[in-house]
């Protein structure tokens, strides 16, 4: 996975609340059991008008935001379906970071597993930086926009995984002996769990 260290880009504004994963990637755009070929379906319901013609009003179709690497969004971003295709589609399009006042938990976890930073800042700050060039430094947990620098919170484990581009499964498999010992004891304690 590509590590996430620093990023400088314009934050494309998608400034409304409850952007759901059906909007990010409509189910009808999930056409195969693979994880690629999804960027074209990103925001398909908003991005295209009849006949799959680009909708000139949609933010990513405006020249200044085409190929955006950062999206600034509203509260509860990524709510709805757990489909990881939403994050795969964003990543394939080139998005590396979403800035919002809050994220739906499954979406945020999916971001981290795919090297995208779900960056939480207060709503008024997100409003003020939307549409502007920002610089993100993950190790320092800061976002700079113009002369303003803001600190943002992130779980230590998530930060480290992103910074180093780590694969969570590889990392966890290193703890296999501890997990196996726990499971052996649990088989005795809760035999009904083991089918």
């Amino acid at each position: 996975m590509t590590p996430f260290t620093t990023l400088s880009a314009i934050a494309a504004p998608l400034m409304f609340d409850n952007v759901d994963t059906d909007a990010i990637i409509p189910s009808r755009e999930m056409k195969s059991t693979g994880r690629t070929g999804l960027a074209e379906g990103l925001f398909a319901g908003w991005r295209y008008v009849e006949g799959r013609v680009p909708n000139p009003d949609f933010v990513l179709n405006r020249p200044e935001y085409a190929g955006a690497r950062i999206i600034a969004g509203g509260a509860n971003f990524g709510c709805g379906s757990s489909r990881e295709h939403a994050v795969w589609a964003l990543a394939e399009y080139g998005v590396r970071c979403i800035i919002a006042p809050g994220f739906a938990p499954i979406f945020a976890a999916n971001c981290i597993r795919n090297g995208l930073l779900p960056l939480v800042l207060p709503g008024d700050v997100v409003e003020s930086i939307a549409g502007r060039e920002v610089h993100i430094d993950l190790a320092a947990q800061t976002l700079t926009c113009g002369k303003q620098t803001y600190s943002f919170p992130i779980e230590a484990e998530a930060r480290d995984m992103l910074l180093e581009g780590l694969d969570a499964i590889d990392l966890t498999l290193k703890s296999r002996p501890a997990i196996a010992a726990w499971t052996d004891a649990d088989r005795v304690a809760r035999p009904w769990i083991y089918l």
Binding site: S27, K31, G80, R83, A104, A109, E155, I169, A178
Partner: protein, 456 residues
């Protein structure tokens, strides 16, 4: 120290703690479905990672299976058959248990897991489906994850997660007649926002929750993901153990000390607490494009985001009741269990849907629910009332590219999401209880089920 139920289950599953402070939490049960199952299993196979304990992993065909009678692997979704056949092949190769299209136990994951006693109080259960929180109604810690996390759980037996925050949502008092668990969930989300649960494990408690039967508890917990909660949980009680006893995968008896400790201790501290007066809740319905856009059915459309008003085509100040509807859907992991269908049928009996209704579907939550409903003659009641009686699956809870409603139609739906285009491009969805769905289908417009007398 006094602990919450969620913390007790979490503590009982911590196999190790990482240097950064996350826990490696043992996962007791994993469910997959055909929409993402093949993808996860194929990715693991490609990486040379076997499923660590296939006996505790289950796959279900529910998301895109056809629900028309006589179905096979064919589905109206273009390319949909590949999701089914590839999931079947990958499940067989991995040695996991598959509830296939024609299996008598087939059904929506969150309906069949409790039916078969796969979910148990005090267990951890995950699935790449946001409505996995439904299963917390049985006292389990159950939550939705992405495909990568599903692979992680299958390959390692654990997930690596920081300990979640906890929230207590207490419904005091008693529900009034005609008010259901669906209305409780919508009332909560309307009052505190679709982001109100913000990653917490929400424990539902209070007299109105205890009074719910197990199926209604599932409806309540189902909607926790629409509240942005990580999971929902209800402490198991006699009803829970009575419900699970004798189910195929459940233990013969629930007599170990483990079961007795599955409750939040007196004085346990939650990160947040919300108290709601259940007696003040009315039948709810959504007016907009988020579950937080819910109002009492006798209310008026409030002033909300302009794009929501534009999409749904209702102006602020308009009464929601009497809004003409075009299609009706009774189904989903929220409201398609036998008790839901019984209550709906009681209202449909001896009545007929309005001539203006272009399509009305009843889709049982599982094949077992379908058989049980047919044994009681509910299918005949629905068909006589003008509804189509379908086979079990997720169906038109969401649009996958196959079957849909007529373009732009207004839908009354017992599902969980009223997002833009969720049920098909341009479809305007109003979510509500099964009772409201039936009453509205009969009236041809949004209607209050309390105005209908139940036929004997």
């Amino acid at each position: 120290m006094a602990r919450t139920l969620a913390d007790k289950i979490w503590d009982a599953h911590v196999t190790a703690t990482t240097p950064a402070g996350s826990d490696l939490v043992a996962i007791d049960r994993v469910f997959l479905h055909e929409r993402t199952g093949a993808s996860a299993l194929k990715s693991m196979a490609a990486a040379g990672r076997p499923v660590v304990d296939p006996a505790r992993v289950f796959a279900v065909m529910d998301h895109i299976v056809d629900t028309r009678p006589g179905r096979g692997d064919q589905t109206l979704m273009q390319g949909g058959q590949a999701f089914i056949t590839e999931t079947r092949a990958a499940a067989m190769a991995a040695g996991i248990t598959l509830f296939d299209v024609t299996d008598p136990d087939q059904g929506i994951t969150h309906v069949i897991s409790p039916e078969l006693g796969i979910v148990l109080p005090g267990c951890t259960l995950v699935a790449p489906d946001s409505h996995t929180c439904t299963q917390g109604a049985l006292g389990a810690l159950a939550w939705g994850i992405g495909s990568s996390e599903a692979e992680h759980a299958m390959a390692t037996g654990v997930l690596r997660l920081p300990r979640p925050k906890t929230m207590l949502v207490r419904f005091d008092g008693a529900l009034r007649p005609g008010v259901t668990a669906k209305d409780m969930a919508l009332a909560l989300i309307a009052a505190h926002g679709a982001g109100g649960g913000a990653g917490h494990v929400v424990e539902f408690a209070g007299s109105a929750v205890l009074a719910l039967d197990i199926e209604a508890r599932m409806t309540l917990c189902n909607m926790a993901t629409e509240f942005a909660a990580m999971a929902a949980i209800i402490a198991p009680d006699e009803k829970t153990y009575a419900y699970l006893t004798g189910r195929r995968y459940a233990p013969a008896a629930f007599d170990a000390p483990y079961w007795a400790g599955l409750h939040s201790d007196e004085g346990a501290e939650f990160d947040r607490t919300i108290v709601i007066d259940a007696s003040a809740i009315a039948p709810m319905i959504t007016w907009g494009t988020s579950p937080e856009h819910a109002i009492p059915i006798d209310g008026v459309v409030p002033s909300g985001p302009a794009r929501a008003h534009d999409y749904i085509g209702l102006a602020p100040g308009a009464p929601i009741m009497g809004t003409p509807i075009d299609v009706a859907f009774l189904g989903s992991c929220t409201n398609a269990r036998l008790s839901d269908l019984r209550r709906a049928a009681a209202l449909a009996k001896g009545r007929h849907i309005a001539p203006s209704i272009q399509k009305a579907l009843v889709v049982p939550g599982s094949s077992a629910v379908k058989r049980a409903a047919e044994a009681e003659g509910l299918d005949k009641i629905f068909e006589a009332a003008g509804f189509e009686w379908r086979m079990s699956g997720c169906s038109l809870c969401f649009f996958a590219g196959g079957e849909s409603f007529p373009a732009g139609s207004r839908s009354i739906s017992s599902t969980n999401r009223n997002f833009e285009s969720r049920q098909g491009p341009g479809i305007r969805t109003h979510i509500a209880s099964p009772e409201v769905v039936v009453a509205s289908a009969i009236a041809g417009a949004i209607a209050d089920p309390r105005d209908l007398e139940v036929q004997a």
